[in-house]
Assembly symmetry: C2
DNA sequence: CGTGATACGCAACCAAAGGTTGCTTCAATG
DNA sequence: CATTGAAGCAACCTTTGGTTGCGTATCACG
């Protein structure tokens, strides 16, 4: 069951552009709005807005250095988000498998009844 | 790394209302726009639109029975979506842990150099 | 059989979010 | 100190999640 509490985190990582930004920040250590926008199909301003969103939910933190603002991911927060993803995924998985097993059991029982008639 | 290919599936399950709808459909087997809207904080019409989205990406299928349209989840598709969630989550997890180990190693090395001075 | 209730579909409309362009501001560097 | 590179700000556009209102089809029952 989706806990429905941390929908903020979810919606933050729900956007594909933001996920790619997190990927980039992870693989390059840190980045600015400008540097990230160079590897993304959107403008610097769009990236800046996304960074603001990520910053608001604490998934990234900014450090101003001269005229540049460097962002890096907050490992703990991202780990929590990742755990949520895995949790929802595995929850669906297990429920689907339970349904599958149930269906197979019913199928078996039907077969037995048919052979008994 | 996010595969970036199945962004449709992602955006379909990215919406919190749609996730709850999938949860409901899973736990109750099937449902209509009306029945789902009764357990959700949105109107029937909103639910209908979400169902259309889920149907378009194949996560649910509809069966018309009289004046009712019953929807049920497509187990295979949802399993794929769940797998993607887990995959992205675990990918981030492992990358974060690699970074953490790296940081610890550097920390250890620094300590050693300090004690050698 | 027809009349009311029920489930749905369609259309117009609204607000928030992702995205763009254009311009200003601020710091580094020649 | 003039220029350039990075960031911020503001207006605007489009999509998307949501609503209300209304028309349509199907069932159920007197």
């Amino acid at each position: 069951m989706s806990t429905a509490v941390d929908d903020d985190l979810w919606s933050a990582i729900g956007d594909p552009t933001r996920r790619r930004m997190l990927d980039l920040l992870l693989s390059e250590g840190s980045g600015t709005a400008t540097s990230l926008s160079e590897r993304l199909p959107v403008t610097r301003q769009a990236v800046a807005k996304h960074l603001a969103v990520l910053d608001r939910v604490g998934l990234v933190h900014a450090a101003t250095a001269g005229r540049e603002r460097h962002f890096r991911v907050d490992a703990a927060r991202l780990a929590r988000a990742a755990a949520q993803l895995e949790q929802v995924g595995s929850s669906w998985d297990s429920r689907l498998q339970r349904i599958k097993r149930l269906a197979e059991t019913i199928e078996r029982q039907k077969q037995e009844t048919e052979t008994n008639e």
